[in-house]
């Protein structure tokens, strides 16, 4: 007899992802869906999709949702949560969305302590538009707009959103994780669960920054991209839990 251990979670619609081969967006989508299933809140959860590669996120989740203008997902989510406080709202944003054009929205939503959850996917590059420099691009990293590598003098320094946000008093959970090994995938799932619990328990704002790869725009294959993330992104963006007011998972 076969016992089923792992299968596609109910909170995913089953529609094929439109991401490139090896892109971590799919893993992060699945983790969110598993957490929503485990908490049993699928029919009461709303997704706010960003602009970027994950613009169609609302099609992949088996739940209601909308797309916000570029960077404005936390503002739209604030409106949704305040109009229907009985529902759970999460935003799914990339680094071009959250760390560039949407910096004001995320800072103020976090500072107000809006009871929403944000999943921030940081792959250090603009994916959808063709690999331009993002605020999170590493120093020396070659992109289509920094062909000689990013220089601090010309292009500034990489943006550390978690370190900026950790002073905000409204945040209940703030962590940075990665998903390039199976062990880290499990750790990320726990972090995402806590960020949702911060909202379910009504404590405050929850944000998880997930370091992710972009094999297509980094110009390497998916397995080397996982190694590149480990070697180059981790020294710049150290992992960790910055704020945890949620306590244990009970």
């Amino acid at each position: 007899m076969k016992k089923l251990l792992y299968k596609m979670p109910e909170s995913l619609s089953g529609k094929e992802f439109t991401y490139c081969p090896g892109c971590h967006h799919g893993i992060i989508h699945r983790l969110i869906a598993e957490v929503v299933d485990e908490l049993g809140i699928r029919e009461k959860t709303l997704v706010v999709a960003p602009i970027g590669c994950s613009v169609f996120a609302y099609q992949f989740f088996n739940m209601d949702g909308t797309i916000a203008a570029h960077g404005r997902a936390p503002a739209v989510a604030t409106g949704m949560k305040r109009a229907r406080p009985d529902l759970y709202v999460f935003t799914y944003q990339g680094d071009g969305d959250l760390a560039a054009i949407g910096t004001a929205e995320i800072m103020h939503a976090a500072n107000r302590g809006e009871k929403i959850t944000t999943i921030f996917v940081n792959n250090a590059i603009y994916g959808m538009t063709g690999g331009q420099m993002a605020p999170t691009t590493l120093l020396g990293m070659k992109t289509t707009t920094t062909p000689y590598g990013r220089s601090a003098e010309n292009d500034g320094y990489p943006m550390h959103m978690c370190e900026f946000l950790k002073e905000a008093k409204g945040i209940a959970y703030l962590a940075r994780t990665k998903v390039n090994t199976p062990q880290d995938v499990e750790k990320t799932k726990k972090a995402i669960k806590k960020a949702f619990l911060a909202q379910v328990k009504g404590i405050g704002f929850g944000l998880v920054e997930v370091l992710s790869t972009c094999p297509t725009n980094w110009g390497i294959d998916p397995i080397s991209a996982n190694k590149w993330l480990e070697e180059h992104m981790i020294p710049e963006y150290p992992l960790g839990v910055f704020i945890d007011k949620v306590g244990d998972e009970k």
Binding site: K3, L5, K7, G22, I27, P182, V185, E186, P222
Partner: protein
Amino acid sequence: MPKVKGYIEIDQERCKGCGLCINACPTKVIELSEGFNSKGYHPAEAKHLERCIACGFCYRMCPDVCITVYREE
């Protein structure tokens, strides 16, 4: 031989052949197929199922949620 016997199913039409499951599998059950799927990728194929220990690493790393994992009892 490991005591736990596993079994995996791969949705080859959904697979994009990225190879992350092959890299994650500790017992090297999965290989890329020689054939193509309708998208034009070489999908992953469970060629050595007798070695599967139902650890679920392939499922965890698959970015397209193509893999279903069972444990034989």
